[in-house]
């Protein structure tokens, strides 16, 4: 629908030159095996191999029988695949007199992780929200202390916390452990949530206040529904952190509530004669399965959430 006269003139002129010059047309030719691509993908694949080797070794070893392992090569694929180590790791490996493998620890880990994740995220998101939107005097001071807390080596706090838990009578109970996890998850999570909530438009918050919503109303009705990415990050961080925790699990629980990592350590370290590497590896994989699954499922959201909550400026 161009102005016909102008366009006709243009095209005519163009033809004249093009006839003279000809030459390249259309997209730049792409060489699949250009030097750039070889270097790029080469490096990536090389790196990927480095990252995958341990997983490969774990899986392969866990599928071998002990005789095959003694033959030596950890990288060689199993000649005869056996799932026995897995069964043993899950159900019959012994620590002392308990020969029920990881199975008990699995459910303990679930019972520890779920409430800890929920509680720590609930507290931290409310904190982050209060810090981002309802600044009150002194809040920043507490927050700075909290952030400092993120760096305190856990060993430093073990003893005082033993005493505190004793004083409130929660030592050794699951509740006690859940509280400990919530406390140590608080600094980083609060930071994440605070950053995220401050990145949401402030006007939204103002609009809700004009609309008469209160502290909790705004949090539940306005902020929460908008916070999926950061919740994903928080859940991933907390699930992996708490599931993988060893120190608190071993110090603040009793044997019948030991989480999986403690049992893993027990199995791996209670060698009865020769080390059963295949069982150890199977136990290791089983222990890591839950956080791994979460990563594989929600890895994409994780990166997005990190971008939204952790990295500013």
């Amino acid at each position: 629908m161009s102005n016909p006269a102008t366009l006709a003139a243009t095209v005519a002129g163009a033809d004249a030159i093009a006839a003279e010059l000809g030459g390249p047309s259309g997209p730049r030719p792409r060489v699949t095996f250009s030097r750039r691509n070889i270097i790029l993908y080469g490096t990536l694949i090389f790196a990927a191999i480095y990252y995958l080797i341990p997983l490969y070794v774990m899986v392969v070893t866990s599928l071998k029988g002990m005789p095959e392992i003694r033959l030596g090569n950890i990288f060689s694929p199993p000649i005869e695949i056996t799932f026995e180590p897995w069964v043993k790791a899950w159900a019959t490996a012994c620590t002392g007199l308990n020969c029920d493998g990881l199975s008990r620890g699995f459910w303990n880990s679930v019972r520890i992780t779920v409430p800890s994740v929920v509680l720590s995220i609930a507290i931290a998101s409310v904190n982050g929200y209060a810090l981002a939107n309802w600044r009150f005097k002194g809040a920043d001071l507490f927050f700075t202390i909290l952030i400092f807390g993120a760096f305190i080596p856990y060993q430093v706090m073990i003893y005082p916390i033993v005493i505190m838990l004793r004083e409130i009578g929660l030592y050794g109970s699951l509740t006690g452990l859940v509280i400990v996890h919530s406390i140590f998850g608080m600094p980083i999570l609060t930071l994440l949530f605070r950053n995220y909530f401050s990145s949401l438009p402030e006007e939204l918050f103002k609009a809700a206040r004009v609309d008469g919503a209160g502290f909790w109303g705004i949090y539940l009705r306005i902020m929460l529904p908008m916070s999926l990415p950061i919740f994903v990050v928080a859940v991933i961080l907390q699930v992996t952190g708490i599931w993988n925790d060893f120190l608190f699990g071993v110090v603040y629980t009793r044997p019948d509530t030991y989480p999986m990592t403690v049992q893993l350590n027990n199995i791996v370290n209670s060698t009865q004669g020769v080390k059963e590497y295949n069982v150890n590896m199977a136990a290791t994989i089983i222990t890591g399965l839950v956080p791994l699954a979460i990563y594989f499922i929600s890895g994409k959201l994780f990166v997005r959430g990190i971008a939204a909550g952790a990295v500013k400026g």
Binding site: G96, L97, Y252, P255, G273
Partner: protein, 388 residues
């Protein structure tokens, strides 16, 4: 009543031994709730202590008797067993009497010794020496002399787990064997630093240097993995306490035929009477208190003592039990015990803090070939000077 018992007996022989306790205790109508914590006493003790100080004590717990639980007792966290002990006349039963002394503080008894363990053993693989074509040595010096032949046959002369407590344990065993109990006590009991820096101890460090060289290719961590090397003939021998015997037993080996044991390294047949004891934290619950008493009783009963110690490879704490079933090595131990050739061990003599410093030193010594025995001895003397 359910009674939770924590301990760090998780290797094959140990676990089998614990099962005997559990069986006997369950037979009284109570229930043994097993709280094994893997990874040696060093890992387990902190957890036990946190539990007790944290106000969530277990029903009973293992400690090495000696000074490990001293402060817990002083703090009044442990149950006083004097009444039970008087009633059952432990003082008469338990032999040697030092065992009960170690459980006693201010005249009150706080723990039940369950076995006698001695460190001063070397375990030799008959197969390894056969492979190397040399006779099985009868003492440390011969062992050192046989090392090159073993190496030539592709064996590791000395199996030694790379954990500090094993390394410092080996040093102490060498010391007791080479310089004898008197000098040993001068060092550890009297904390006499001139002796520690003296010529006698220099010999000990020279021997440790030999051990270091012989153990260069021993790439294992846990003691039972080192024992496994001896069992399958990969290594010539291992300096380890008599608990190693349980492993040989689980592996179905026969003392004298498959393996050889030399108390006091064949040089100085004296054994220390350290060992394990059970402590009973104070609890409010009357049921549990009763169960604790039952357990204490069961642990000392003659049948349990025999069954337990046979599995564990240690010696029973009562002199009146029948141990005909005992094997070669245990009998050697019993004979020494009967002859009264006993001595005190470091657990009773020095604080865990000093032990830790010793461990640090020996760990460094064994992993750093550049530290000369002389250097090491000098630092050893410094530790002894400050020891408590």
């Amino acid at each position: 009543t359910d009674l939770e018992v924590t301990h760090w007996w998780t290797s094959g022989g140990e676990a089998a031994a614990v099962a005997e306790f559990a069986k006997a205790f369950d037979a009284t109508g109570n229930k043994w709730v097993d709280g094994a914590i893997a990874g040696s006493g060093d890992t387990a003790r902190p957890i036990m202590i946190s539990r007790i100080t944290g106000g969530d004590p277990m029903g009973a717990t293992q400690f090495n008797h000696g000074r490990q639980a001293e402060e817990l007792v002083q703090e009044g966290l442990m149950r006083d067993l004097t009444d039970l002990a008087t009633k059952e006349e432990w003082a008469k039963l338990i032999n040697p009497p030092t065992l009960l002394q170690n459980c006693t503080l201010d005249g009150k008894i706080y723990c039940v010794p369950v076995n006698i363990h001695s460190w001063q053993w070397i375990w030799l693989s008959n197969k390894a020496f056969a492979d190397a074509g040399v006779p099985v040595p009868t003492n440390w010096d011969e062992f050192v002399a046989a090392a090159p032949a073993l190496e030539k046959a592709g064996k590791v002369p000395l199996a030694l787990g790379k954990q500090a407590w094993q390394e410092s344990g080996a040093l102490n065993v060498l010391m007791a064997a080479i310089v004898g109990p008197e000098t040993f006590l001068k060092v550890y009991k009297d904390k006499d630093e001139t002796v520690a820096a003296g010529a006698d101890i220099a010999k000990v460090f020279k021997a440790a240097d030999d051990a270091r060289k012989m153990a260069v290719n021993s790439n294992v961590q846990n003691w039972n993995e080192a024992t496994a090397m001896v069992i399958n003939g990969q290594a010539g021998g291992q300096i380890m306490g008599d608990w190693a015997q349980g492993e040989f037993q689980v592996a179905g080996q026969v003392a004298g035929k498959d393996y050889t044991c030399l108390p006091g390294l064949g040089l100085n047949a004296v054994i220390a009477t350290g060992g394990d004891a059970f402590y009973f934290p104070k609890v409010d619950n009357a049921d549990i208190s009763a169960a604790q008493e039952t357990l204490a009783h069961v642990m000392l009963s003659p049948e349990t003592q025999v069954a337990f110690n046979l599995k564990k490879g240690s010696l029973p704490v009562r002199g009146d039990v029948d141990l005909t079933a005992a094997n070669d090595c245990m009998k050697k131990g019993l004979e020494i015990l009967a002859a009264g050739k006993t001595m005190q061990w470091t657990d009773e003599l020095i604080s865990p803090d000093t032990t830790q410093q010793m461990n640090d030193l020996m760990a460094e010594f064994f992993s750093t070939p550049t530290i000369t025995p002389e250097d090491a001895q000098k630092r050893f003397a410094e530790i002894i000077a400050k020891a408590d």
